[in-house]
Symmetry: C2
Subunit: 283 residues, 2 copies
């Protein structure tokens, strides 16, 4: 009988404490994860769709409690190479979730005003407020991955930024945020076919910039930069998970499973009934 | 055969030009609209649901084009008495719409910092950017309705605020925004049963504040304030529509029909294909 998959098998070992889920943090490698695997698939696309809808409805219920409480907050960070499916994940995982308590924050290349500040300035401004479920579609990790690969910052600055990120995420966690970070992991071949599909469909050109081709040439340096960033910033208060993402339906399902586990662990309840309302008859 | 309903029959006559859809602006009255009527209903709840899903999918397609273009923008303003269904409308109408191009902005009672500015300051900051479909769940209209009913501003200041609102909305329209404003119109009896339902269900208490009961005592002054505000600020560039909203399924359907018409009138197309991408093969 195949081993029941565990979400924890896909967690990046926590930095600092040497060992986590049996692996040494320093030894963590992205190539240990098969991008094409579908450990959380239900066996067919239809079954996956049904399961996702079930998870979505449950997410919606728990999100309403989070929203009703206005105390805790959740931050989901989505990262991945171009075409890894960040947009598609947002759309699929949150299809059943009430838009009122959800905030999607896309991060693009920083503007001149943003660049004039420290790299966490624009990110801090978008942190989830009490009662919010916030999704970062790209994030502060772009500001360590891209400049590192392009050689704009050296190794020492890269390390300093990892440190700032850990401290920033600890601040959010101390203020009641539950943070979960997903790396959508696709293969170089899968990216090739997805980029080609966008080029071949003129209605998809708006999603495409010619610089995406340039970035693809840096595939290996980006994989290495991701590996290092994940290894350096996976912590108990803000863990990274590697999501096998060549299969879109598997990717959606696994992110939904993870998020649902997080929300369930929060033991969210509606706030207590208001005594003042007891027995009131509206005239 | 019953007359086919026209959305324009529910448009508040434009201010200034005396006549619009056969009615004099000054003569406009909310009591001319039957809150319980269901002119856009398909005849049954199931048929309404099917139609709403159809409209939702179409809204999603057009919203993607709006998002792809990053040129035009849409602002939907939702107003109505407590329990009129602003939250429910957002949830139902946008169920099929990709959260990536949608922004829901709730306005609460202004904070001290907001109050320290002019009443449009906090609103302007939330105006839709190019490519966005933004929904104001409550809006700048609260800042003329509430203080007027509570006697915090006099008639002259109320008129001045109407003028500022018209000019502000004209500014947004000149910058490429299409504005549509919906007043969710319920009866006093319908509000009574909805408030009572919230009181009787402790998991709904978080939606309820004891001050809602106080506001209900001011039902008639609020209806009058709404009438005046709608009459004074319905313009060609930012028209008001009265949505019969005692029936939730009718309310959702009518708002979706209106919004779809607006998006269809915008003749949204995907931006032109990028010549530079033609014939490129990804390596």
């Amino acid at each position: 009988m195949p081993k029941q998959p565990s979400l924890d098998d896909f967690r990046v070992p926590y930095v600092g404490n040497g060992k986590s889920n049996g692996k040494k943090a320093g030894k963590f490698s992205l190539t240990d994860f098969d991008t094409a695997s579908k450990p959380f698939s239900m066996g067919s696309k239809d079954a996956d769709r049904a399961r996702l809808s079930e998870l979505g409805n449950r997410l919606d219920e728990l999100q309403e409690r989070l929203h009703a409480q206005r105390r805790q907050r959740v931050l989901l960070v989505l990262q991945g190479m171009d075409t890894s499916g960040k947009d598609g994940t947002v759309r699929a995982v949150f299809h059943e979730v009430d838009p009122l308590g959800l905030r999607i924050v896309p991060f693009k290349a920083p503007t001149p005003i943003e660049t004039a500040h420290d790299f966490l300035w624009r990110v801090h401004a978008k942190a989830p407020a009490a009662g919010e479920l916030t999704v970062f579609n790209r994030s502060h990790y772009e500001d360590v991955l891209v400049p590192r690969v392009l050689g704009q910052i050296d190794a020492a600055e890269t390390e300093r930024r990892y440190g700032h990120i850990r401290q920033f995420e600890e601040l959010l966690a101390d203020a009641g945020a539950t943070i979960i970070k997903c790396f959508l992991h696709i293969s170089k071949d899968e990216q090739k076919s997805r980029l080609q599909a966008r080029i071949d469909d003129p209605t998809k050109h708006w999603k495409f910039d010619i610089s995406d081709i340039e970035a693809r040439k840096l595939w290996e340096p980006y994989q290495e930069a991701y590996r290092d960033a994940l290894a350096a910033t996976s912590t108990e208060y803000a863990p990274w998970y590697v999501i096998p993402a060549d299969s879109k339906s598997h990717r959606n399902l696994m992110v939904a499973e993870l998020l649902l586990r997080v929300l369930e662990d929060m033991k969210l309840e509606y706030p207590p009934a208001k005594e003042a309302l007891k027995g009131i008859k509206v005239e």
